[in-house]
């Protein structure tokens, strides 16, 4: 914000800002000091997000999605954490700020919706105070104005008789209502960026859709950017402009949503997609589960982290880490044998012919050595 600008840009700051990305993350890495060693939860992630756009971050449990968005915000435990890389938000590098300065950005410019509204709302504090405290302390409203704003917020996220609800405690609300309250709290001070961490995971399917619709409507009305984290590609399919697929703390593929669904290059993305139930699948068709589990992030293996579970694996994947490369404009992937490429087809048919997971065989050979 303090950068010197040309006279024209200074006269029309909004016009130039529209072309700058709102958020630019460069080589962000976060590790935790644990008794078992250093856990590299986020390992060199770069991404950009334009104003009022939605980025879907997809990956399995333990792939580093939550840590990624908390690292973007800087909302990490105070001790035993190492964070590096740049987080340029509206022209400022948040990576260089301490918590005291970050606090000015939190809530008012970027806000977070947490995964589990039961544990993320204070059980012994009324909804009203949880909602009005940031309005009063951060936005500087007086008591009356804060209450009126809170009522309007609750109404806008679809809560019936909002004025009475202000006096409720979290345990008196249903799961869907709690998540709506949480969204209202996050929206309270009008953030430019909303970080939603699996906002629908704990909810019934019908409620999930409602909550996602509330998020979508609010986002459009406020022209707010959003990072929507989920383990479910189905959730982001219609709601995200672009998607970043994470595995073992890295982005392994990213592109616009249409490209991801049409021509995913990364075998992991393909596997995730095949695990979504489809209406047009024949009755009784099995869902393709991904064999194995994500790697332990304390021991970073050489090569591609997905190799042990991959149907396209070759010798090279075990020994060399594939870099994130741009295969088409705006489409990045990190794979030696991408889906749909000649290398990929060959690797897949070779592995299929062997009848066993090639990775298992290669690993056994490694052990025998």
């Amino acid at each position: 914000m303090t950068k010197s600008r040309s006279g024209l840009a200074a006269a029309f700051p909004a016009a130039t800002e529209l072309h700058d990305p709102l958020l630019e993350v460069v080589d962000l890495a976060t590790s935790f000091q644990t008794p078992r060693g250093l856990v590299r939860a986020v390992d060199g992630v770069s991404l950009t997000l334009a104003r009022s756009r939605t980025l879907g971050v997809v990956g399995e449990t333990g792939s580093g999605k939550t840590v990624l968005i908390r690292s973007i915000m800087g909302l990490l435990p105070r001790h035993g954490v190492q964070r590096s890389g740049k987080v340029i938000f509206a022209g400022r590098d948040l990576g260089a700020l301490g918590e005291r300065d970050l606090r000015r950005v939190w809530g008012t410019e970027m806000a977070m919706v947490f995964q589990d509204p039961m544990t993320a709302l204070n059980p012994v504090v009324r909804i009203g105070r949880q909602l009005t405290e940031s309005l009063r302390l951060r936005a500087g409203l007086d008591r009356k104005a804060a209450i009126e704003t809170a009522v309007a917020l609750l109404e806008s996220v679809g809560i019936a008789s909002p004025r009475e609800r202000l006096r409720s405690y979290p345990h008196e609300l249903s799961g869907g209502m709690r998540q709506r309250v949480m969204i209202a709290i996050a929206l309270a001070c009008g953030p430019k960026l909303l970080l939603a961490d699996e906002p629908t995971t704990g909810l019934d399917v019908t409620v999930q859709a409602q909550v996602l619709d509330v998020l979508g409507t609010q986002q459009a009305e406020r022209s707010m950017a959003m990072i929507l984290v989920t383990h479910d590609l189905g959730v982001v399919a219609t709601r995200a402009d672009s998607i970043a697929v994470m595995y073992a703390g890295r982005v392994v593929e990213s592109a616009s949503t249409a490209v991801i669904f049409d021509s995913a290059k990364m075998p992991y993305t393909e596997a995730l997609m095949r695990s979504i139930p489809r209406l047009d699948a024949p009755p009784g068709a099995r869902l393709a589960a991904i064999p194995g589990r994500p790697p332990d992030l304390t021991t970073v293996p050489t090569g591609c982290a997905f190799a042990p579970r991959c149907a396209y694996v070759t010798e090279r994947c075990i020994h060399e880490t594939p870099p994130l490369t741009e295969s088409a404009p705006g489409h990045y992937h990190a794979c030696w044998n991408p889906v749909g490429s000649p290398e990929g087809e060959q690797a897949f048919s070779t592995n299929l012919a062997k009848g066993v997971m090639a990775a298992v065989e290669i690993a056994q050979r490694e052990v025998r050595k």
Binding site: L75, W106, A111
Partner: protein
């Protein structure tokens, strides 16, 4: 909320009834009956029967209980056989001393333990936390009677800041009263400080790991605000529960300290009465102490319900 309170009140009444039966039986279960004490060397079977008849002790137990309970409800706890003093009167003299002792010692304990725990929990296992932990553990391991002697030696005998023994009532001189109560209160408070500090500190540390604290941080609220407005309340339940039990046991457990400082409190009087086999005195005081214990814990439960809305549904 109201139905919860009503339920608790019924429970309270039941507990008080059981206590009264036990207090009543207490004396009958002890070896040696009061006639022995009263008659002393003039003990003859006819004199003894006459005494028992006069005291109503020849009637069946349930009838005796009803008579006694009826009197108790009218504030009549009987008269000591030895001193001919009214038991109710003796209690009215002794009990305020304990009350004052407990209140002053608990105010000191909370005033020290609360800020210590709040500061220590922000940086667990760092210098301040370790120092406070060691210091309070030291206090916990010193028995009250040793601490009392040390306090009396240093603050009363050496620098004459407080009287070493004796009690001045609040009505005689409020200042002297406070001075006479400070040393015994300090001796009693040591253990409470340590327990309260430890309970609140560990609950605060675990509360500060909760999602809703991270959520509060994400709103950009200050550390102090989060600590006081979001973390303290949900961390205070085990502290309050233990304070209830602690206060109850201090009412009688203050005996040693009362003895050392020559304060004629309830604990002191009970022990005197037991050794003199002054059975109505023991009975009345035991009853009052037990009821006080129950009432304190009821008050604490009520406070916890006020602080934790989740319990109200139960």
């Amino acid at each position: 909320m109201l139905s919860y309170l009503a339920k608790r009140l019924v429970q309270l009444a039941a507990v008080v009834f059981v206590i009264s039966v036990l207090a009543f039986l207490l004396v009958h279960l002890l070896p040696g009956d009061p006639s022995v004490t009263i008659l002393g060397p003039f003990d003859t079977p006819t004199a003894r029967a006459e005494i028992l008849r006069q005291l109503g002790l020849d009637k069946p137990l349930p009838q005796q209980y009803l008579t006694w309970a009826g009197n108790v409800l009218h504030g009549n706890l009987g008269r000591s056989f030895l001193t001919k003093q009214s038991v109710a009167h003796a209690i009215a003299e002794a009990f305020p001393i304990d009350l004052e002792l407990v209140i002053v010692s608990q105010v000191i304990a909370f005033a020290l333990a609360l800020p210590l725990a709040l500061v220590a929990s922000r940086r667990p296992n760092r210098a301040f936390d370790r120092l406070a932990g060691t210091a309070t553990f030291g206090l916990l391991s010193i028995p009250a009677f040793i601490l009392a002697v040390i306090l009396a030696l240093v603050l009363a005998v050496e620098i004459h800041a407080f009287p070493a023994t004796g009690f001045t009532s609040l009505t005689t001189s409020p200042v002297q009263n406070l001075r006479s109560i400070v040393l015994p209160s300090l001796a009693l408070t040591a253990g409470s400080i340590a327990v309260y500090f430890r309970l609140l500190r560990s609950d605060l540390i675990s509360t500060l790991q909760e999602d809703y604290i991270t959520m509060a941080r994400s709103k950009g609220l200050s550390d102090r605000y989060i600590l006081l407005r979001h973390a303290l309340r949900p961390s205070s339940f085990s502290l309050l529960a233990s304070a209830g039990i602690n206060i109850g046991s201090l009412l009688t457990g203050a005996f040693v300290v009362e003895y050392l400082f020559q304060l004629p409190g309830i604990g002191y009087q009970i022990v005197e009465s037991i050794s003199a086999r002054d059975y109505l005195m023991v009975q009345g005081m035991a009853l009052v102490v037990a009821v006080a214990y129950v009432v304190v814990n009821f008050a604490v439960d009520f406070l916890i319900v006020l602080l934790d809305p989740r319990i109200r549904r139960a």
